[in-house]
């Protein structure tokens, strides 16, 4: 089965790149939330719940929105679309915020809306809610971006789990270090039906994945 990356978005190093096109750059920002908000505003995304998300979810959500804006998945059934994300730090960035709110027993006001994000797979939940995705999903915690892991896992979803399209990628955030790469993976035969040639695409191989994460 030939699979292709038919769209990607990377948010890394002060910039946003979609299918090799630079779409956003911000030299100076006080905190990462400001950077994400600026991307949201520039791209005219309208989804008020965005502002309730933690930064990890915002990062994964934005990268995926920009991928799906290039390659909408409306022609697939909800159950046919899978999503596989990975990172190194799980939800540690938000775990630290939650921990800060409970460590002082004399000022003990944990925030429920922070606490609900102390799991990395909530990123997947936010993306699925917005895009009505109901297929197979997994959030894998791995020390490094591992193209082989993605290739094997996603290939298996297509072969054995009835997946017809899959969002996959890396959504890493801890402090000031961030890197998100979201991609849409489709079968070659479906890719060719979409028209609007020549579309951006790259064969879905471990080698290409490992190159894509460091391309921008």
């Amino acid at each position: 089965m030939n699979l292709h990356i038919t769209s990607y978005c990377q948010i890394h190093d002060k910039k946003v790149v979609v299918n090799d096109r630079f779409i956003f750059y911000m030299e100076n920002f006080l905190n990462f939330a400001d950077f994400l908000k600026a991307v949201y505003k520039q791209e005219a995304i309208s989804y008020p719940k965005f502002f309730k998300m933690d930064s990890l979810s915002k990062l994964g959500f934005l990268a995926t929105e920009l991928v799906l804006r290039e390659k909408p998945i409306g022609r697939y059934c909800s159950e046919e679309v899978g999503i596989v994300l990975s990172n190194a730090s799980a939800s540690l960035d938000t775990d630290i915020i939650h921990n800060d709110s409970v460590k002082d027993k004399s000022h003990y006001f944990p925030s429920p809306s922070v606490f609900v994000y102390t799991l990395p797979n909530i990123v997947i939940g936010e993306i699925c809610i917005k895009n009505k995705i109901k297929g197979e999903n997994a959030f894998l915690v791995s020390e490094f971006f591992d193209g082989t892991l993605f290739e094997n896992y996603v290939q298996n979803l297509f072969i054995n789990e009835g997946t017809a399209a899959c969002i996959c990628g890396w959504v890493e955030l801890l402090g000031n270090n961030y890197n998100a790469l979201s991609m849409l993976i489709e079968r070659e035969e479906n890719m060719e039906k979409t028209g609007n040639q020549p579309p951006w695409n790259l064969p879905f191989t471990a080698e290409n994945l490992n190159q894509l994460i460091i391309r921008n």
């Binding site: 908000k37 008020p48 502002f51 309730k52 006001f109 944990p110 925030s111 429920p112 809306s113 609900v116």
Partner: protein, 84 residues
């Protein structure tokens, strides 16, 4: 009361991250949940935290929440009655 209502509007916007809503957008008598601001169950928990953190008011019976958090005005009335 009107002063407290205006203060509450700002606190609710900040606490619930209602980024695209300004205090003027909030009718103090409109329901906060459902068709009003469209708040959800996590927002309800945040409002409970807000009352405790900013006004020292602890809601003992969760069933009272529906009445207290019906609107900004009902919140303000409850705070006025129970503020320590």
């Amino acid at each position: 009361m009107e002063e407290l209502i205006e203060k509450l509007k700002k606190e609710v916007i900040e606490q619930l991250n209602l980024e695209e809503i300004s205090p003027d957008d909030i009718n103090p008598d409109s329901p906060l949940f459902g068709e009003g601001l469209g708040l959800d169950s996590i927002d309800a928990l945040e409002l409970i935290v807000l009352l405790e953190k900013n006004y020292g008011i602890k809601i003992e019976d969760p069933k009272d929440g529906k009445k207290i958090f019906y609107s900004i005005r009902t919140m303000a009335e409850y705070i006025t009655e129970h503020k320590k």
